[in-house]
Symmetry: C2
């Protein structure tokens, strides 16, 4: 159990961290700081919030674990801001969905006596805001913990135990491995869904009337927040471009097989795709 | 109400046509032919089947409306086989998911005294077989009715009324328009989902462990039957290739915007996609 947990700038994820930590007894005392005064007022009455700090520095001063729950660019700002106030031995983590650049910058911003280990709980939603949070948000979901090679193993272990206590299924990879994985399984699908919807809107928006369940499923994530995705594409640009390139090359292969009437090749691709999809459950 | 409805080679769709026609009183008498003797035996005891014919010719001899419910290539064979047995004034339709080439071939196969109007109820499922059929399969679903320009308006009206009686939302377009629409809203999404799964399987199948709801949604249709999709890609090759080309060109534009850091352009694409997806409901 974490003795004192500080959560800075709680949105959907940060709020859910507090709710889950309280519900599952993962932290004894939970201190939260939010940027806007009206949010701080609202937080004071929540059963999963023991104290509301007026500043980030105040929130972290006696913390054992600090969770930076802001959007990616703000995470780095917050790390710089709390650096002088961090107590000896404190562990700092975050919930940013891109890790390599962010972890490097956070480590650079923090003093040597603080230990940074990045996290990424894959528990987003189209909903945002701590009001939509849930103590069950992380239950059974993949939570990446991304220590650098040669990072403090004890700190990584504590962060891993924390996400497990919140119900997550933890996976330990380096920040660079993390970014390659999410570029392929999350950022590429978003680019494809957005691009398909953008294409159909331009071709003939009236076709939406004929959308079946397949199109609805395939495009659901295109309804996600644009600002969040711009930030992700910015943070993970190289890996996203690489994933798009690989997708385009493979789609060109499928196109050529259809064009040349190479139906055994088309079948092989359909069947490999089906085997992978069936394995997702 | 159709006086006598003949359904040839019922699978999921043909079986559901019989069930819905009985449940909704859309046909007085329902005669079915199936290729395999054991299926004919099983059909005899179904409450939505008044008679089982031993041959396709026998099934259509006194029919007012014939529904060819076989896979696309078999539909043309069946049309040729029943041609000599069709009574005067009979209307023939089908449930094939590609229409232009198929409608041309069916019309060529049928005698002048039979009237052909193609149909495509967009009510597929990953399940197959008449045993998985449902009287509610067409409820609220788009059913394309595809008369040729200059086709028999009365026959098109009867086919339209029939699908409406089964609960469908009918849309009348030419066979060529139909094939362009489904290439974009159905066949392209299938190619993308298959290609994404094929790519991920080749990159690292272990990543499946980290799949979130977004990847699951985006790839769900990749689990569809390969044989069915090969037939669709064969039948609608030109339109599918064109849709893939347009998708690739647009994706190249998104890729370039990310690569050049043109975030206003990336935002415009994300927002256009979101508006289209939000409009699907």
């Amino acid at each position: 159990m974490i003795e004192q947990l500080a959560i800075l700038a709680p949105g959907l994820l940060g709020g859910s961290v507090a709710m889950a930590a309280r519900a599952r007894g993962a932290a004894r005392r939970i201190v939260i700081w939010a940027r806007r005064p009206e949010v701080r007022d609202a937080l004071r009455s929540q059963p999963w919030c023991d104290a509301v700090a007026e500043t980030p520095e105040e929130a972290v001063r006696a913390a054992n674990l600090v969770v930076l729950a802001a959007p990616v660019e703000k995470i780095i700002e917050l790390a710089r801001q709390i650096a002088p106030a961090l107590p000896d031995g404190v562990i700092v983590t975050d919930v940013g969905s891109v890790k390599n650049r962010l972890c490097r910058k956070c480590r650079a911003a923090l003093p040597p006596h603080a230990r940074f280990v990045g996290s990424h709980p894959m528990a987003g939603s189209q909903k945002t805001g701590w009001e939509n949070g849930s103590a069950e948000l992380f239950a059974g979901r993949t939570c990446f913990v991304t220590p650098e090679n040669g990072a403090d193993a004890q700190a990584a272990g504590i962060v891993t135990d924390f996400w497990r206590a919140l119900g997550g299924r933890t996976v330990s990879v380096t920040p660079a491995q993390h970014d390659e994985i999410v570029a392929n399984i999350s950022h590429l699908p978003q680019a494809l869904a957005t691009n398909l919807c953008d294409l159909l809107a331009q071709k003939n928006p009236a076709w939406r009337e004929h959308a079946g369940a397949g199109l609805r499923d395939t495009t659901r994530i295109a309804a996600s927040d644009a600002t969040m995705w711009i930030e992700i594409f910015q943070q993970n640009r190289d890996e996203v471009l690489h994933a798009i390139d690989q997708f385009q090359a493979r789609l060109a292969g499928l196109r050529a097989a259809i064009d040349h009437g190479d139906w055994p090749e088309v079948r092989a691709r359909l069947e490999r795709g089906k085997i992978f999809r069936d394995s997702l459950g």
